[in-house]
């Protein structure tokens, strides 16, 4: 039964990883931008929520209402003012600039908040749990997973049923022809980054409620996000959720074998899938 329990907990953890990955996948899909600062932006979101919760004296759930638009606006400005200047045929400049951004965010957070681990206090709900047969499930992980499913479903809907999603797909297909249709590429990219950062804000707040965080943990969140995207197959949002779940389950099963294996087990499974299915488990057909 312990093993079944580990799979369930891992699945729920996978929801969080899927949220790390969704924002990454979205901007790569729309503008072929690999955002090295994504993990640090998740951590930044957690700190924004921390400050918001402390200043206003409200629960992290309430702060979400604030953190999402703040990070979305930050994302739009970041894209318009900085990243758009690096976009072109060469993928190296945006890679370097987001790497620099990652260093800047880490050090700015270090200067502002110190290296002490912080945590978003959500109160009793953090420890609340209920039993399904012999398995005990935490309320918080279930909320995180349900949110992840809702976020993925929401992104899927935006992509395939709205004018914004049509603009995203058209721009992703052919940037110059999309421009001929009257879509300003710089603005579309800004909106994509804003949406990505909105998802990142949700991920960051849940990360902060689930575990303690400090300015240096962004890098490994980036890796988890990347792994979930690649396992699921680039450009496939539901695949990203599956990728997150596979990664989460691998990690909890690894931890069950030996506490030191947790992160390693996730990487090994990622490496294995990359070796057998280089395009991920559910690649987009037209990819």
């Amino acid at each position: 039964m312990d093993w079944v329990n580990a799979v369930v907990q891992g699945t729920l953890l996978g929801g969080l990883y899927a949220m790390f990955a969704a924002g990454l996948s979205l901007i790569f899909g729309v503008m072929r931008l690999v955002n090295i600062a994504h993990g640090d932006l998740i951590v930044l979101s957690a700190y924004v929520a921390l400050s918001g919760a402390m200043l206003l004296g409200v629960s992290p759930f309430v702060v979400l209402i604030l953190a999402v638009p703040v990070m979305a606006a930050f994302g739009y400005l970041l894209q318009r003012l900085v990243l758009n200047r690096t976009m072109g045929d060469d993928i190296l400049p945006p890679l370097l600039v987001t790497f620099g951004l990652s260093v800047i965010i880490q050090n700015a957070l270090l200067a502002a908040y110190s290296a002490d681990p912080q945590k978003l206090q959500a109160g009793d709900i953090e420890t609340a749990a209920f039993a399904i047969g012999p398995i005990t499930v935490g309320v918080m992980p279930v909320i995180v997973f349900a949110t992840a499913v809702a976020v993925i479903a929401g992104l899927q809907w935006v992509f395939y049923h709205t004018a914004l999603g049509r603009a995203f797909r058209a721009t992703s297909d052919r940037q110059d022809i999309a421009q001929l249709m009257g879509l300003n590429r710089a603005h579309v990219f800004g909106l994509a980054m804003a949406l990505s950062m909105a998802v990142t804000a949700v991920a960051g707040v849940f990360l902060g409620m689930r575990t303690s965080f400090d300015p240096a943990i962004g890098g490994s969140r980036l890796i988890f996000g990347f792994e979930a995207v690649i396992i699921g197959g680039l450009g496939n949002l539901w695949g990203t959720l599956a990728g997150g779940v596979i990664l989460g389950v691998a990690q909890t099963l690894g931890a069950k074998l030996h506490p030191g294996f947790q992160v390693l087990a996730g990487h090994v499974v990622f490496l294995f899938i990359l070796a057998v299915r280089p395009r991920g488990l559910f690649p987009r057909i037209d990819g």
């Binding site: 022809i177 999309a178 879509l183």
Partner: protein, 234 residues
């Protein structure tokens, strides 16, 4: 004489590092269909890309409705009412036929063209509207590309090599649809390799040779001899 709808004067444009147009001079009057002909590399596509804003130029080199547009972005040019059917169709593969058409009309410019009217012009597209655009045959894709441009209700429609790579029977059916498109006083520029086709649909013809205008006149009046000379420079 009223100002022409499109006026190009002293346009030097580059295709990559290569200068493709040299001080080009050309005018298109309201309601005219102008054919642009010329050999490969004469600068026809560079001209289309310059007017549509995909290549940025000196502001005054291109004027549309009297306004300098040479340095505007393609989306700004599109909003002013210039639509391009690009060479090679270049549909959006991730979008269905209908979505390709809808995105063409997303500027919301008022005018006669909308989805039902387009489906009446090209009935096959109504049947196949939910299919990914790139699953259509070449001719049907060309209909989508033309429809996508019309959906913006342009004041100037530019069509670049719409017969390229299509079977003669398909080309014929597309050209048969053209009078229904330009019949209502829509101003158009048709870039074409096939000179007979170009002359049959146009009121004026402009021939480019090595980035310069080598011939310009009324389509009904130019002689084949003059065209040959303008085309090949012999």
């Amino acid at each position: 004489m009223p100002e022409p709808l499109l006026s190009i004067e002293g346009l030097d444009a580059h295709y990559g590092d290569f200068q493709a147009l040299y001080g080009l001079l050309m005018q298109v009057a309201q309601g005219e269909v102008t054919a642009v002909i010329g050999a490969n590399g004469a600068g026809k596509t560079t001209l289309m890309r310059s007017v549509s804003g995909l290549i940025r130029n000196q502001p005054q080199a291109i004027r549309f409705k009297g306004q300098p547009i040479g340095d505007l972005r393609a989306d700004q040019v599109a909003a002013l009412g210039i639509a391009l059917v690009p060479e090679g169709r270049l549909l959006f593969p991730s979008l269905s036929v209908e979505e390709n058409l809808i995105i063409g009309g997303q500027l919301g410019r008022p005018g006669p063209w909308n989805l039902p009217r387009l489906y009446d012009l090209f009935p096959i597209l109504r049947e196949r509207r939910h299919v990914p655009a790139t699953e259509l045959s070449g001719g049907q894709q060309q209909m989508v590309a033309i429809g996508r441009a019309l959906m913006s209700n342009p004041d100037l429609l530019m069509m670049d090599e719409i017969s390229l790579g299509l079977a003669p029977v398909v080309i014929k059916s597309i050209y048969e649809a053209l009078p229904g498109i330009v019949g209502e006083g829509l101003t158009a520029i048709v870039v074409e390799q096939d000179i007979a086709k170009a002359l049959s649909v146009s009121s004026r013809v402009t021939c480019l040779q090595e980035g310069r205008v080598s011939l310009s006149g009324a389509s009904a009046e130019v002689t084949r001899d003059a065209i040959s000379r303008a085309y090949f420079g012999v």
